[in-house]
Amino acid sequence: MNLKVNIGNLELKNPVLVASGTFGFGREYSHYIDLDDLGGIMVKGLTLYPKEGNPPPRIYETPSGILNSVGLQNPGVDAFIKDELPFLNRFNTKVIANIAGETIEEFVSLAQKLNIDGVDALEINVSCPNVKEGGMSFGVDPNSVYAITKKVKQASNKTVIVKLTPNVTDIKIYAKAAEDGGADAISLINTVTGMAIDINTRRPVFKNVFAGLSGPAIKPIALKNVYEAKRAVSIPVIGMGGISSAEDALEFMIAGATAVAVGTYNFINPAGSIDILEGIKKYMLRNSIFDVNQLMNSINV
């Protein structure tokens, strides 16, 4: 059975990744699964300088979903390279560094700092809803998506993936902007912007008012975006958003995703990513599919 898939020049041993921000830098989950079994790890979003993130509360459960407002708390790219990357490199899996700049220059600096061994790809996060500077304001402007992609691509010798937000009228335009900017792949979706109010205090639950919705609730939305984006570009698509079972992952692959990322479901089942991979294999056996690439974009419309 062939499970290998290619994202640009990056070969993944299987199509199951873990989504940025839900898996830290892999350390904690290494007690629950063998990280070697993953196609790759999309690490927590990295910024040029350490970032403390937003004040609590940072999470709120909604029907079949969660709202989060972490605000990119992370130790900064230098500490990542020094303290976290060596640990990750002990494993035989791909490391995809998720980067978030407040300016185009920051994205470029991040890319340059990550032109090192042990980093296999960059995922450009132009779609974080939880920060004031940069974040989603880039992601909802096709010109910014294009410009950031282009500059990062010039600065980087890695596979460059652009992560898109679903909070737009027409995802195709953004997918195309990334492709035109030279992206090797796109990934989607980042969280859907949402909100919650405490009716007793009549205050927003989150200090930032808005927060990012993830989890099973958003799966139908994610699937639609992946399907549409795939039809706008010829580069590979990495699908995510609510994936919580092999069946979910298969929907994304059939809709056009070359690989999938498991996010919120890691919280519910720390071995969820591997369970999903096993379920994909079973489905392939049951359906006599010997190469996972046959599944990709195999939708009959």
Binding site: G21, T22, F23, G24, R27, E28, Y29, H31, Y32, K44, E52, G53, N54, P55, P56, P57, R58, I59, Y60, E61, P63, S64, G65, I66, N68, V70, Q73, N74, G215, P216, T264, N266, F267, I268, P270
Partner: protein, 243 residues
């Protein structure tokens, strides 16, 4: 892991005790995460209230849909559980006169702590709204004073009032309970310059230190830092915590 429920019983008004088969080795102050079923998504954190060979006990209050669902679970049902998680209470040989301060549903982990500290000289101050629970169990391990907000049992008022008279000659304080109580405990510990550890609650995602949602604001030399309740805590030195 799936574990078998051995007992799930209401021990006070809206307060339940759940005994669960378990094969981890927890220390006091650590917690487990339980998938409470129904239409909950995230697992819920509960402190370990007791531990025996192959069993743990938690004591919980019905708060929302997760704990409500949990209250419906019956002996022989199984629950999906992870843990033990987190950094519990640090126990020190050098300290002998220990004050334990608990409020409301923050009390359960202090029972496990009291048990582990039992060779020490323990003063235990427990505060409740009205109905008390676990009091007899605590009496096995030390002197117990009780405060209830309505005067139902013990002193009428807050546990921190009851605590005032206990604090002299104390080497170490451990506290768990509502924010407001923890803040008073912290203030008093600082006033009398007694080392003090408190257990903090924050809403959680992963429960294992990966997602950064369970932020606890802590002091650093240069300012502040958000630590993780689930991994760096839930127990912190009270001096560190910025309320």
């Amino acid at each position: 892991m799936r574990y078998v429920v051995r007992e799930n019983r209401e021990i006070s008004n809206g307060i339940y005790r759940l005994r669960l088969e378990f094969d981890g080795i927890p220390t006091p102050g650590q917690f487990i995460m339980i998938n409470c079923g129904g239409n909950t998504l995230l697992k819920r954190p509960f402190s370990i209230c007791d531990h025996d060979a192959d069993e743990i006990t938690i004591v919980y209050r019905i708060k929302g849909k997760g704990t409500y669902n949990l209250s419906k679970v019956k002996a022989l049902d199984t629950l999906e559980v992870t843990g033990p998680h987190g950094h519990g209470f640090d126990m020190f040989d050098k300290f002998n006169n220990i004050l334990i301060v608990g409020g409301g549903i923050g009390i359960p982990p202090l029972l496990f702590l009291s048990k582990k500290l039992k060779s020490k000289n323990l003063k235990i101050a427990l505060g409740f709204k009205s109905d008390v629970f676990l009091v007899d169990e605590f009496k096995k391990y030390g002197d117990v004073v009780i405060a209830t907000e309505d005067g139902n049992t013990g002193i009428k008022g807050y546990v921190t009032d009851a605590m005032k008279d206990e604090i002299k000659d104390i080497d170490m304080i451990y506290g768990c309970g509502p924010m407001q109580m923890l803040k008073s405990v912290k203030d008093m510990a600082e006033k009398y310059d007694v080392p003090c550890q408190i257990s903090i609650e924050e809403h959680m995602g992963c429960g294992i230190g990966a997602c950064m949602v369970c932020a606890c604001k802590t002091k650093t030399d240069s300012g502040f830092q958000y630590k993780k309740v689930c991994k760096d805590g839930p127990v912190f030195w009270s001096r560190e915590v910025v309320f």
